[in-house]
């Protein structure tokens, strides 16, 4: 069975979804999907071990050789991403049962878990596959389930947010489809490895340039990179809180993965960064994104909105690291992928707990919660500190690597700007701390209890991971560095 791990990774949550429909009882379905997600997590750990020791794993689906059949190709980068996605999914799913109790009508609980599993399947499929068109198919699985999940939100704004996301997401996916079509037309293959071999021959053609532009724009739409981010804040803010926690921690990460995969592996480093002026463009957009989104975050009244904007800002950091196109820069991006998943997962889960108890998530509702829900609020604060990049949290590690990468290349002013951007994070995190600890609760609000254990366990698992990986950086840095090096070394 060991040889089949790459496909089992995707197939287990996939097959679990239709089985859920047959189980019918919501509690049973929850347990079952938790097991499926946990299995996927276990497999991803095994896969990462295998890849770190023995190198790239190629799995030919249907037994057909690579460019003719579809190939799953797991290298260090994929394995790392698989670990993040399946891990976060499992932890978040743990809290799902309690959280959706109050947010989603009873008769839709089963559907919720099915869509959750399908969304997980889609993301795992995007990451694991080595075939460009297969990316599109799994992208659509994850997006379609995402639209439905977001539309399950309590308010009517959820519907509108979901619709906007659907339009933007479909345009993005169709752009990717056009791009894949164009490169297919120039090379005659869809397999990513094969593409990376055959593209250099035709790299100087206008068609490949257009293909590159379409793929990048399409991916950036999914990624919510700065000028294309408009769908994200509302989608995150109005979705059920569990869904927000899951997507904030994973969906954009998968899109960043696609960006890295297409620029570094498929089109190749020399094309992406020398033929096309990607470096300056991305660095500028990343920086503007950090400042614009952080500034918007400061003015938000809804805490979910606030952290959604903060997510866009964090994407900015990843893009800056990515745009350096050096090993250290990419390491910083990959580390930040991992770390951001940990902190945003924890923060949004904690917000879900607040919603569970308080019912609302305006800044005013947080008043006095520091005393009433000490553990939950402490988690939000630690997560916030991590966002700022305070030492002893994971946020510090990735910022540190990012700064190192920038200084290494002599981009002093950018490094200073990054630090300034972190100051903005201090402001918005402070607003939450102020509301929670230094303001008296509103007169008419009734006191609330601490969140139930089903929330506290996953939240604190993530927070402890936040601190652990902030102190003991060996594991995460080693994997991220190895993945970055492998992208620069042998192509794919």
């Amino acid at each position: 069975m060991i040889a089949h791990l790459p496909i089992l990774q995707v197939i287990i949550p996939l097959m679990a979804a239709p089985i859920c429909l047959m189980l019918k009882r919501a509690q049973l379905v929850w347990l079952f999907s938790l097991i499926a997600s946990g299995l996927a997590f276990a497999i991803s750990i095994l896969l990462l071990q295998q890849v770190m020791t023995s190198g790239v794993i190629s799995y030919e689906l249907g037994g057909w050789q690579a460019p003719w059949g579809i190939e799953y190709r797991i290298d260090k980068l994929n394995a790392f991403l698989l670990l993040i996605v399946s891990g976060i999914s499992t932890v978040v799913l743990f809290a799902a049962q309690t959280s959706i109790e109050k947010e989603i009508p009873k008769n839709k609980h089963v559907y919720f878990y099915i869509l959750y599993l399908l969304s997980l399947t889609g993301m795992l499929g995007i990451v694991a596959t080595g075939d460009a068109f297969n990316v599109f198919v799994f992208l659509e699985i994850s997006s379609l389930s995402a639209y439905a999940l977001i539309a399950m939100g309590k308010n009517r704004q959820a519907l509108w947010a979901s619709y906007q996301y659907l339009i933007m997401g479909t345009i993005g996916a169709t752009f990717i489809l056009i791009g894949i079509g164009l490169i297919y037309q120039m090379t005659g293959t869809l397999n990513m490895y094969d593409l990376s071999q055959r593209l250099p021959e035709v790299a100087q053609t206008r068609t490949v340039f257009a293909a590159f532009a379409f793929v990048i724009v399409g991916v950036c739409l999914k990624l919510a990179m700065f000028p294309l981010h408009l769908w994200l804040p509302n989608a995150y803010a109005y979705a059920p809180s569990i869904v927000t926690a899951f997507f904030a921690a994973t969906a954009t990460k998968v899109a960043v993965y696609l960006l890295i995969r297409f620029t570094f592996s498929v089109f190749g480093l020399s094309f992406s960064f020398t033929t096309v002026p990607l470096q300056t463009l991305f660095m500028a957009l990343g920086l503007i994104g950090i400042f614009a989104a952080s500034t918007s975050a400061i003015y938000q009244r809804n805490v979910k909105h606030l952290f959604a904007y903060s997510s866009i800002a964090q994407i900015g950091y990843m893009i800056v690291g990515f745009s350096l196109s050096t090993v250290t820069g990419l390491t910083a991006t990959l580390l930040h992928l991992f770390n951001h998943a940990l902190m945003k997962g924890a923060i949004f889960l904690a917000l879900a707990a607040v919603i569970y108890r308080v019912g609302n998530i305006e800044l005013n509702n947080l008043r006095g919660l520091g005393r009433q829900m000490p553990l939950t609020m402490a988690a939000i604060v630690i997560g916030g500190l991590s966002l700022i990049g305070v030492p002893l949290t994971v946020g510090f590690v990735s910022k540190w690597y990012l700064l190192m990468a920038l200084i290494e290349q002599g981009w002093w002013p950018v490094a200073v700007l990054i630090l300034l951007g972190s100051m903005l994070a201090v402001v918005y995190v402070w607003r939450i701390v102020e509301a929670a600890y230094f303001k008296a609760p509103l007169d008419n609000s009734s006191p609330v209890k601490e969140a139930p254990m089903s929330f506290l366990i996953p939240i604190w698992t993530l927070i402890i991971a936040n601190i652990y990986f902030g102190i003991d950086t060996r594991l995460s840095v080693q994997v991220a560095e190895a993945a970055a090096q492998s992208l620069f070394g042998v192509s794919l």
């Binding site: 197939i11 057909w64 399908l118 399950m152 340039f209």
Partner: protein
């Protein structure tokens, strides 16, 4: 020549869609657009695709849109902020694409890269390796079976998504009352009812033909599923939703949708058990070709089941909402008068 005529017609239809304000007309034009593109696909030798596009673009999606328009009204508001930014984006994107065409292989050129790499093996060796005359089927169901699996899952996802959004929980007596009013309206359609009764068996027969003949000609599980669902939908439209619900149990079709996905996936799992890779049908039987045939047959059944039941789920969800809307409006009118 014929492709140029079809393309010109497509452009005309597209412009008409932009300019029309009446959504009903827009939807009909979209149906025409689908049908024209299906004809274009035939001219381009893509018969399987044409079949699907005709069933989906001109059939199902038009139907769904009509149901939605019945609920939302058919007029598009005229006033609208300036279309200039949109025009800019479109011009930039289009310009980029046109820029990209200059280094493209020429239309129909046999020496284009796509005809040199990967594809020749499908054309030359698929008969020996898979043993199915329709190359599209052998690529779809064997070489790239996993993509098709993904496609089935996409359809399944859409079905579940529509259910979460539109399913209405209501008491049984209410359902009876709502439907009885609507059903009485259907009584008048004597002629079509009789004709439909004659046609529906033939449609089922045709669906089965398409399902099994997919190996030899255009067709396959997806087209068969859509046709099968079309027969049921026709029945539901003419005899009333409530009657159709009695014939086709709603929980049952949800179950079938799940079973289809599972059937498809378990073919892969069985091949895993037999020491092959996922979806390696060669190991399903002692003779590789027989194994391929068996595998393709089974997965096409999976596709057919899921597609047919999801199409029904989608239609019933939309039509159920429409029924509720009409009922609510009627109640409102009665109250006001």
């Amino acid at each position: 020549m014929i492709d140029i005529i079809l393309l010109t017609l497509l452009v005309v239809v597209a412009i008409a869609i932009i300019r029309m304000k009446d959504l009903f007309a827009v939807v009909m034009l979209l149906g025409i657009y689908g049908l024209l593109s299906a004809s274009f696909f035939v001219a381009m030798d893509a018969v399987d695709v044409a079949f699907t596009e005709a069933a989906v673009g001109a059939g199902i999606s038009t139907l769904l849109m009509l149901v939605v328009i019945a609920m939302t009204g058919r007029k598009e508001k005229t006033n609208r902020h300036k279309p200039l930014p949109a025009l800019c984006i479109v011009l930039i994107t289009g310009g980029l694409l046109i820029y990209g065409t200059f280094d493209m292989p020429h239309f129909g050129a046999a020496d284009a890269p796509i005809h040199q790499h990967v594809a020749p093996r499908y054309i030359n060796d698929s008969m020996a390796e898979v043993g199915v005359p329709n190359i599209v089927t052998s690529v779809l169901a064997s070489y790239r079976a996993f993509d098709t699996f993904g496609e089935v899952v996409v359809i399944f996802t859409a079905g579940i998504g529509v259910l979460t959004l539109l399913s209405v929980a209501r008491r049984k007596e209410d359902a009876e009352k709502i439907s009885s009013i609507n059903d009485s309206m259907h009584e008048q359609h004597l002629v079509i009812r009789i004709v439909a009764k004659m046609l529906i068996p033939f449609i089922f027969l045709f669906a089965l033909y398409v399902q099994f003949h997919g190996d030899f000609g255009p067709g396959g599980g997806f087209q068969a599923g859509v046709i099968f669902a079309a027969a049921i939908i026709l029945y539901a439209m003419l005899f009333g939703l409530n009657t159709a619900r009695k014939v086709i149990n709603q929980t049952f079709i949800q179950l079938i949708a799940a079973v289809g996905v599972l059937l498809y996936g378990s073919v892969g799992i069985v091949s895993l058990m037999n020491d092959g890779n996922f979806f390696n049908y060669n190991v399903l039987a002692s003779d590789p070709i027989a194994g391929q045939h068996l595998g393709i047959l089974l997965i096409e059944w999976g596709v057919g089941c899921t597609v047919a039941s999801v199409m029904m789920i989608i239609f019933f969800s939309f039509a159920g909402r429409l029924e509720l809307h009409q009922h609510n409006e009627r109640v409102k009118n009665q109250e006001s008068s």
